[in-house]
């Protein structure tokens, strides 16, 4: 049965609006899914396209809407407007309505939303039960490159966020993380951040960057003696289009699997780390 799709306007000047996909029967002990849009701000699509499968699981989808005026750089989480604080406040308010009871939530993001999602999870790994990044343009790597490309120190000043992300890295690397990208999303476009340094670190297209990031997470976990739970999923027949990723690539099944015990999760990391 289709979920109830509803728009919740922002409650206050610095608050987030969101789209909600509500199942007809809610399982309040199941964590909600927070699904974050890309730079086209397609929050409704996030809720609608992921909501059906979530509803079958009795789970709520929260698709926050980071408007361009207040959160122009929401992808980097801690930039102007502090997108992280806005999402924390929204989730606190929504949880008070009784839609769910779990202290944590699952987090997914598409494109710019995937950038937000992984950086948020690095800052607050205690709040994220599961992370799925889909077709991020670029990533914060678990290395000592200065933030936002890595979690190293930039200037030591009050806006030096790299070490703050680094502080949570162990817990972050313990999360089940799925890195998904369209198999055909292998050409840079006008929205792809480019430059000698990032191209060298991450590659030039989203598919390459996804693979390198997943590999970097697996290596960082192994270096910390953390059993990695990292999976890379290439979505067949998909380029950079969220709807096609869902309809052709079955992204909804990846974001909302039947079971958390996906054998591929361990299999990928083990294969990548094999000598």
């Amino acid at each position: 049965m289709s979920p109830i799709l509803t728009y919740r306007p922002a409650k206050g000047g610095n608050a987030l609006a969101c789209w909600l996909a509500l199942p007809h029967t809610i399982a309040p002990d199941r964590p909600p899914l927070v699904a974050v849009h890309g730079i086209l701000r397609g929050a409704r699509d996030q809720a609608a396209l992921l909501g059906r499968r979530a509803a079958a699981q009795g789970r709520v989808v929260v698709a926050p809407l980071f408007d361009e005026t207040r959160w122009p750089g929401y992808q980097q989480v801690v930039r102007r407007g502090r997108a992280d604080l806005a999402l924390l406040a929204l989730m606190t308010e929504l949880r008070l309505t009784g839609l769910w009871q779990t202290p944590d939530f699952e987090l997914a993001g598409y494109s710019g939303g995937a950038q937000f999602a992984h950086r948020f999870a690095m800052l607050y790994p205690n709040l994220v039960a599961r992370l799925t990044t889909v077709s991020a343009g670029w990533y914060t790597f678990p290395d000592d490159t200065a933030f936002p490309y890595g979690v190293g120190s930039a200037d030591g000043g009050k806006s030096d966020w790299g070490p703050r992300l680094a502080a949570g890295l162990d817990q972050f690397l313990e999360l089940p993380i799925t890195v998904a990208v369209g198999a055909d999303d292998n050409q840079p476009d006008e929205n792809t951040r480019r430059g000698p340094e990032i191209d060298h670190q991450q590659g030039i297209d989203r598919a390459t960057r996804a693979q390198r990031w997943a590999d970097a997470l697996a290596r960082a976990a192994a270096a910390r003696r953390i059993a990695p739970r990292i999976d890379l999923r290439l979505l067949p027949g998909c380029d950079h289009d969220f709807r096609r990723c869902v309809e052709l690539g079955e992204l909804d099944r990846i974001v909302l699997p039947d079971s958390d015990l996906n054998p591929a999760v361990r299999g990928y990391a083990e294969a990548r780390l094999a000598p």
Partner: protein, 365 residues
């Protein structure tokens, strides 16, 4: 000879019960004993305000401040008090007129006063409050049942170079920041003299659990045996864990030179409880002195905070002189920054818990 008075009026309605009595079941009060020489710390004292002095208000058990009037009947707790910027005093009662040592409701004999303080509010002790069996009511009897220290609850200690260095602000700010980051935080005042200011500050910050030494049966920890204070801290931590706290932020009152604080920090059971240590300092010199004192006993703060952080120049001086970062109240309130500060402490605590479990160590032993 002790002459009991039977209470013919409802003492609850006709006296102002101080905050330090908040855990006492008032229905237990049945009589008044006038043998003041037998008083011991923690006993409830019925008194009459003779003259309003430095403390013009009393903090009531229900959390409200109340203006004092000469002639008011008050129920206070006999106790010691240590406050270099107010009064220092002992748990003794002068029948002609005792001293109100703290607005939270501690009565005793003032021995030292800061120069800016006037004379204490004078309270004539009318007797000790007793139950129907003529046992004097003592806050110890109303404390939480003793609990062992929970191994799994990470504890962040907040200590100060001196009074008014910013400890309570730091506890409240960190509790707020960690709470916003999704943790259930216990904010605990482990030592000091009973008062609701800090208690309310913790609650206002959104702490999931708020408690102080009065919940462990002490109106004041000054001059209490160290073993009792330690047992009280274990109980407060155990209670916090039972109430669902995931992190405890624990304030030790006063400065590092204060006797109980200094002794606690030398005590392996106390030191072993801390997954992290935050030092609040008033200025750069306080930072240096505080770090030296801690280093002398083999401790090092993870960060500095407090009044020093209000001044960029003092912050720079403190960081340069100690090599320890200064973090401001605003940063502690920020969920991302509070979590980042706590993350290595939580990891340390988790590692220690695992090691203790592997070694079969009982932390409460």
């Amino acid at each position: 000879m002790t002459q009991p008075w039977t209470l013919c009026a409802d003492l609850s309605a006709n006296a102002k019960w101080a905050f330090t009595t908040r855990r006492v079941a008032r229905s237990d009060a049945a009589t008044i004993l006038d043998d003041l020489d037998a008083v011991r710390a923690g006993d409830l004292v019925l008194g009459r305000v003779e003259r309003v002095g430095s403390h013009r208000r009393i903090q009531l058990a229900d959390g409200r401040g109340s203006e004092l009037y000469a002639g008011d009947l008050v129920v206070l707790v006999c106790g010691d008090r240590y406050a270099p910027d107010q009064f220092e005093g002992a748990a003794e009662l002068d029948p002609a007129g005792a001293d109100m040592l703290a607005a939270g409701g501690v009565i005793g004999r003032m021995r030292h006063a800061h120069s800016r303080m006037g004379t204490p509010t004078c309270v004539v002790p009318l007797g000790l409050v007793a139950d129907a069996a003529r046992r004097v009511l003592n806050v110890e009897d109303y404390g939480l049942a003793p609990l062992p220290r929970p191994a799994s609850l990470p504890v962040i200690g907040i200590v100060g170079a001196s009074m008014n260095a910013g400890k309570t602000t730091a506890v409240a700010a960190l509790a707020h920041g960690l709470g916003r980051a999704g943790y259930r935080v216990a904010a605990i005042k482990a030592t000091g003299t009973g008062a609701f200011n800090d208690f309310h500050a913790y609650a206002d910050a959104g702490a999931h659990v708020v408690s102080d030494f009065t919940d462990a049966g002490m109106a004041s920890t000054y001059r209490q045996p160290l073993t009792r204070i330690l047992a009280g801290i274990d109980t407060l931590l155990g209670d916090a864990a039972q109430r669902g706290a995931e992190i405890a932020v624990v304030e030790l009152a006063d400065g590092l030179l204060q006797a109980e604080t200094a002794a606690l920090l030398r005590e392996p059971r106390m030191r072993g409880a801390f997954a992290g240590l935050v030092l609040a300092v008033p200025d750069a010199m306080g930072a240096v002195g505080g770090c030296v004192l801690l280093n002398d006993i083999g401790l090092a703060p993870d960060v500095l905070t407090g009044m020093v952080s209000c001044s960029p120049l003092a912050t720079a001086e403190a960081e340069a002189a100690t090599g320890v970062s200064v973090i401001a109240r605003e940063a502690l309130r920020d969920p991302a920054q509070a979590r980042a500060l706590a993350a290595p402490m939580l990891a340390r605590a988790a590692g220690r818990t695992a090691a203790d479990a592997a070694a079969g160590v009982d932390v409460a032993a």
